[in-house]
Amino acid sequence: MIENVDLSLVDWSRAQFALTAIYHWFFVPLTLGLSFLIAFMETIYVRTGDERWKRLTRFWMTLFGINFAIGVATGIILEFEFGTNWSNYSWFVGDIFGAPLAIEGILAFFIESTFIAVMFFGWGKVGKKFHLLSTWLVAIGASLSALWILVANAWMENPVGMIFNPETARNEMVSFWAVLFNEVAVGKFIHTISSGFVLASMFVIGVSSWFLIKKREEFLATRSILIAAIFGLLASVTLIYTGDTSARTLAKVQPMKFAAFEALYDGKDNAGLVAIGVLKNSGEKIDEKEVSDFVFKFEIPGFLSVMTGGSRDTFVPGIRDLVSGNSERGIMSVAEKIERGKYAGAVLAEYKKAREQNDHAKVEELKMKFMDTVFRDEYFRYFGYSFLKSPSDAIPSVPVAFYSFHIMVMLGFFFVLVFALSLFFLFRGTLIGNRWFLWVALFSIPLPYIAGELGWVVAEMGRQPWIIQDLMPVSAAVSNIKAGSVIVTFILFAVLFTALLVAEISIMVRQIKKGPKH
């Protein structure tokens, strides 16, 4: 069915989706975090009646508005690209995957877009309390939107709550709660929205620091820093905590991704966690894939085992164990999974043939097979492997996963430091004169953007070759279109998004320089 799949089509389809997702993620985290910061600020205004707080709230709200529209614009493309570029995926798992997207629209996005109108245009037209409520609802709506999208994404990492129906040739949902409370989803949601909170807090602190450097807007800047630093500190600590728990879940449900971002080739007990390292090409290969090696590394002994299993004795499988199998540790080889996947595929083909020949007895017999838990859990779950050409196809790019992950983690710790220092200097009363720190804060604005994008690189590229872990590789998921068509739309999107990004930054900078106008 997909024997003749055009590899450049797969690559361009991935490139287009990645492009859209990367641009989307330039804007969404600020929306997620800034909406809450604005809600805190407006709450203080409503409680105190102090007009200076209103002025401050409206200043950040203007920046919020500039950012919001472009996040929405890139979001709609992502939703529709599942259909336009990944149509086989959309059918194969649409029964499960479509639901969270629809719920996002009905239950979350409408809250956001309705109350955003009140938030912007309701000043003086609606009561103070209703306005405040609207601001809060925008923040809550934005996070709810994120919840449903991340539930959908988590399902791609860890597909649960469904069974395969051979008649329709798709997976069908059997438990909504399993999908919603997927262990990956819970961690992913908290981790991701926290990253948005951190980004927005850093943004507010950075911009406020610029005002202080310029000796302008002292009230606005110091109050904004106070709120953002408290929020940011709490969020960054949560970020690190959920990062740690996510890693544990990952080691269980996506051991290959986990091994790749630690560049761990040979599994071991008492495995150390690489804090800093540089990779080189070792010259060795697993099939056709290059094996990376460390030029140097600084390791925390035993910590990787402790992180994954709670004790130093925990065995952490490496890439070689996962590819070639390790019978001692009960790890199945990819070759074996490919065989099992092919067997499941053959049973499906047999079913389709029996259907065409109207062989009812055979159809019923094979249908029972798909209901059989042994067949499902031991064979069909490896269905995706039947598309792999060689076992090494199951290995993602190790350098990409390794560097993305480690830079992200280092930045995470740096954010905690910046927020803690902001509070420290603020309470000591030395922040305004502390020019070096203000400059550091200003130049830290891009860092959470980098960390957030890298987080998605780890999640998505680290999952390769899968679009749905173990069940479907990207090569089987693409639409049946010409690579040339995708190249054209890719270029159009790239030009358009870049132009809009440049415009956005330019408008944002000008608005910041102008300062609050009320």
Binding site: A73, I76, A102, G105, I106, T114, A117, V118, S479
Partner: protein, 376 residues
Amino acid sequence: MTMIVTHFFLQGYWWIIISLLAGLLVFLMFVQGGQSMLFSLPADDMQKTMIVNALGRKWEFTFTTLVTFGGAFFASFPLFYASSFGGAYWVWMAILFSFVIQAVAYEYRSKPANVLGQKTYDIFLLINGSLGPFLIGVAVATFFTGSQFSLNNLNQVQWQTQWHGLEALLNIRNLSLGLAVLFLVRVNGLLYIINSIDDETILKRSRKRLTLNSILFLVFFLFFVITLLVSQGFASDPETGFVSLVKFKYLKNLVQMPLVLILFLLGVVSVLYGIAATIFSGSRKGIWFTGSGTVLAVFSLFLAAGFNNTAFYPSTYDLQSSLTIRNASSSHFTLKTMMYVSFFIPFVIAYIWYSWKSISKRKITEDEMRSEGHKY
């Protein structure tokens, strides 16, 4: 809560919701309709500002409805999502482009240092306003005229033309619905502007344009409806699912489903009444009639496309690949889960209504534009 509902009931239930969302979407595209006249309707910059701001306070509703329409279609009829979007690639991509440029245009057009300049953003609004409704109309017309695709035994779509959807533009019936939708949203746009802006010149200029746009709408709409009623349609056998061409299928659908016929006629009459009241008796409330008539007319057309054993997304290349609400839907479990979710829809509509009212109590005036803190 346990409810015994049949699969067929749920499929029908979701088709009704999809049809309703389609109706609301076409109505809310009055925003696009207004945008399509951005360079001709206002006499000066202040008028343009007032029009853009009147429309701009509503653009997010249209946009969100489009996103929800897409999401709901995906969740309830995933085979349509996979087949149409993945097959008619270029039509959907063009629609998407036109909406991407809209989202930023409002927020950026009047901001200093916006790089591309106000004129570019206004052109974005014009493109979205004209191309968006037209292409959506063309795409929806293929629900009645069919497309050239086939599905393999794993339900994967193969589009059978090189044009990936653009071939729909060669069909005169598709074009007529595209143009009918475009002129309908322009009529709704004018009626909305008449209703929400207090400015003599704008009122006068809007009324002047209303007549011509209404006539053009009627011409294309009647052409589409008449050809629809006399054309063959795609019938699906309720027992076997076998799809065949049946003469006067859509006419039969309306006759055999009198409620749908009544809704359709009510919709059309309401659309016309809103227009007539505005032209002949100077009413400023025409939008409420024409708007709700739009919802009813589109709603009932969608019902006629999918109910009464009709293939709602027919394939002219291979009739048996045609999509019906039976073969294209989600599983029983998913449809049921989504039905529970849909119970929130009235609540959503209620808060939208309340918020909309609360910020639109006063009409838009020049004075407000001069003092508004958040202006597009």
